[in-house]
């Protein structure tokens, strides 16, 4: 039980404090020597305060509450724990920080930081690297004990491999997870992020980047029950011909919760395909933000890119922002985007009630169905059940 009254910082003071402790806590020894110097320089130059002054960073953060900056955090590394799903236990691997070298694929494609957050997150005191070969499954489960816990994770998926990675965070505090993966030619990666933020003292910030070689495929499933604060930044580069990325997000944002999805898919090669399918069910005083960008390079002819975000508000005090963005520099492409925000359709509700279903139950069914559109696409039946049950339980309560 916290009995100490936390000092309240201004947002600018908080950003400076966070910058300082992230910088000080970094441990770059795991990085190859050639990379170390570069990364170190980037971190030294990074200032989180730029989110208040840099125009493009301000745009990226304009809808996101930043109250977590008001607290004076201390760095305390994650504790590795058992995954929350029993079936994941069998897949748990010994944590073997594989020595990295410049030719490690995930380091070769490690992108330049687009924000001070990214620059500061690399070299976190907890750092993992995995190389996944054919049909491997990796589950990573970490617990935050209530402070600031940063983690850097790099994953190389070998050519032709068909792999799954599960990321499960628990505990309270501010969890900052920087993940970069590289998927080799014709490799496939499914990334599952089942995320339940129990209360308002939980902050999860996922900074995920990925690079896909020729005919590689990535599927992401970010399923969130948010009473706390969460930001998921996912930035993928479809660098090889025929690469494909399918991003899914279903968020049930509970009262006073916040879910912020910032997605960027870069089509850099011809015949690439992507689909962003996101749904947010937002309860009273909850807040959802979706910023989805599709970038098509001039060389990425024959690109197919789709994006859909729908937010369903259950009360007038729920808030949803959606910002679809398309940057297309090739002329032979097909790109679509669709965004809706609103309340339950009266026609649907009346249809159920006219069949005798009481209003409360009818609303529950429709709210659940709204997220089902994403959940039913999750390949793991166990995760589907988990998400459906969580959502049903929260809607009923």
């Amino acid at each position: 039980m916290e009995s100490i009254v936390q000092e309240q910082l201004s947002l600018e003071e908080g950003a400076a404090h966070l910058t300082q402790i992230l910088r000080e806590s970094r441990d770059e020894q795991i990085l190859p020597v050639l990379l170390r110097q570069h990364v170190s320089l980037q971190a030294q130059q990074a200032e989180l305060g730029r989110i208040f002054t840099d125009q493009s960073l301000k745009e990226d953060w304009k809808y996101t509450p930043l109250d977590f900056l008001r607290r004076r955090w201390q760095v305390k590394p994650f504790e590795e724990v058992s995954p929350p799903f029993s079936f994941l236990e069998d897949w748990r691997r010994e944590i073997v920080p594989i020595p990295l070298h410049e030719e490690t694929p995930a380091l070769r494609s490690f992108p330049e930081p687009r924000s001070p957050w990214e620059a500061l997150a690399v070299g976190a005191p907890t750092h993992r690297h995995y190389t996944l070969k054919r049909d491997e499954r990796l589950s990573l489960a970490f617990r935050n004990s209530g402070e600031l816990a940063p983690l850097t994770c790099t994953i190389s998926v070998s050519p032709l491999a068909d792999c799954e990675v599960w990321l499960c965070l628990s505990g309270t505090g501010f969890s900052l997870l920087r993940l970069h993966f590289h998927v080799g030619r014709e490799g496939r990666l499914r990334l599952y992020i089942p995320d339940r933020l129990e209360n308002q003292s939980v902050y999860h910030y996922f900074l995920v980047t990925g690079y896909l070689e020729e005919y590689a495929t990535v599927e992401t499933y970010d399923l969130t029950i948010a009473s706390g604060w969460k930001r998921s930044e996912i930035r993928l580069q479809l660098g090889g011909t025929g690469a494909r990325a399918y991003l899914h997000g279903a968020a049930h944002v509970l009262s006073a919760g916040m879910m912020d999805a910032a997605i960027r898919v870069e089509h850099l090669a011809p015949h690439t395909e992507s689909n962003q399918l996101f749904r947010s069910l937002v309860e009273a005083k909850g807040r959802s933000t979706f910023q989805g960008r599709i970038y098509v390079h001039r060389l990425a002819q024959k690109t197919n890119a789709y994006q859909s975000h729908k937010a369903l508000l259950t009360a007038a005090s729920a808030v949803a922002y959606s910002r679809p963005q398309l940057e297309i520099f090739a002329d032979d492409v097909r790109c679509t985007h669709g965004v809706t925000t609103g309340f339950l359709q009266g026609e649907m509700l009346f249809y159920l009630r006219a069949r005798g279903i009481p209003e409360g139950l009818a609303k529950q069914m429709l709210y659940e169905a709204f997220l089902t559109e994403v959940i039913e696409k999750v390949p793991s039946p166990s995760l589907q059940s988990w998400a459906s049950e969580e959502i049903r339980r929260n809607i009923q309560s």
């Binding site: 359709q345 649907m348 009346f350 009630r353 005798g356 279903i357 069914m365 429709l366 169905a369 559109e373």
Partner: protein, 248 residues
């Protein structure tokens, strides 16, 4: 069973129904015909409790109860069923999930235990066969991707499941080809009982060739202007609304 007396109603301040009187007894089939904008669908919406319609005068009694004081689900539990003109798609809710919830809500209102899965499936399969519905129909989302004919058959299927006392069919025949119309009509005729009444709202005589009404009403400009037996529909088909009414 159903008594409508001097019913006046408006939508967004515009008067639509201007004094409708109608009495439907158990076992009867009434057809309500009328041109576009006459108020047919408004009447159906008011009987089933849809929001957005204001009753400004008159009353509606269903088995002696004031229908207008009841919520839509209470009307359904009391035995009123509306076959929608445009059944809405509900992605993410399967037919089986929907029907389980509806049927168990009805049973709960009657003080009965919910059906177990085996009983439910048995009932659904029996009624689906009546409407010649494909087996995968039950696992699909409600009305999602259904053809026009499938939607209308799904409405009658739901009616067969919920076993209502009064069925209001709002232009069920619209958008149906002749084969689908025959399937729907056969199912409706199979469900005709001395205890159940039907109100068929339609533009066309066609459906009445397959579902023979006891009484035909002509609704124009918010009022029932003529009533008669089934021959009135034939006369209407021959003469059209204007001539028929001008000769009245």
């Amino acid at each position: 069973m159903l008594q409508i007396q001097n019913l006046h109603a408006s939508v967004e301040g515009r008067s639509i129904l201007k004094g409708v009187n109608l009495e439907v007894r158990a076992g009867e089939v009434h057809a309500i015909m009328g041109p576009n904008g006459a108020g047919k669908s408004t009447l159906a919406a008011i009987l089933t409790g849809k929001e957005g319609y204001e009753v400004t005068e008159g009353e509606v009694l269903f088995e002696g109860q004031n229908l207008l004081d009841m919520a839509p689900e209470e009307r359904s539990h009391a035995g009123i069923f509306l076959a929608f003109q445009y059944p809405v798609e509900i992605p993410g809710v399967s037919m089986i999930q929907f029907l389980r919830a509806a049927l168990n809500a009805h049973r709960m209102a009657k003080g009965l235990e919910p059906l177990d899965s085996a009983e439910l499936m048995s009932l659904l399969r029996e009624k689906a066969a009546l409407l010649k519905l494909e087996p995968d129909f039950l696992t699909r989302s409600v009305n999602e991707g259904f053809s026009g004919g499938e939607r209308k058959r799904a409405e009658i299927f739901q009616m067969a499941i919920l076993d209502p006392k009064l069925v209001i069919m709002d232009e069920t025949d619209s958008g149906l080809d002749i084969d689908a119309l025959k399937i729907v009509a056969e199912a409706v005729n199979a469900l005709r009982t001395p205890q159940r009444a039907f109100v068929l709202i339609t533009h066309y005589y066609r459906i009445l060739q397959y579902i023979r009404p006891d009484v035909v009403h002509i609704l124009m400009d918010g009022r029932i202007v003529r009533s008669g037996d089934a021959s009135l529909a034939i006369e209407l088909e021959e003469k059209g609304y204007d001539l028929l009414i001008s000769q009245a």
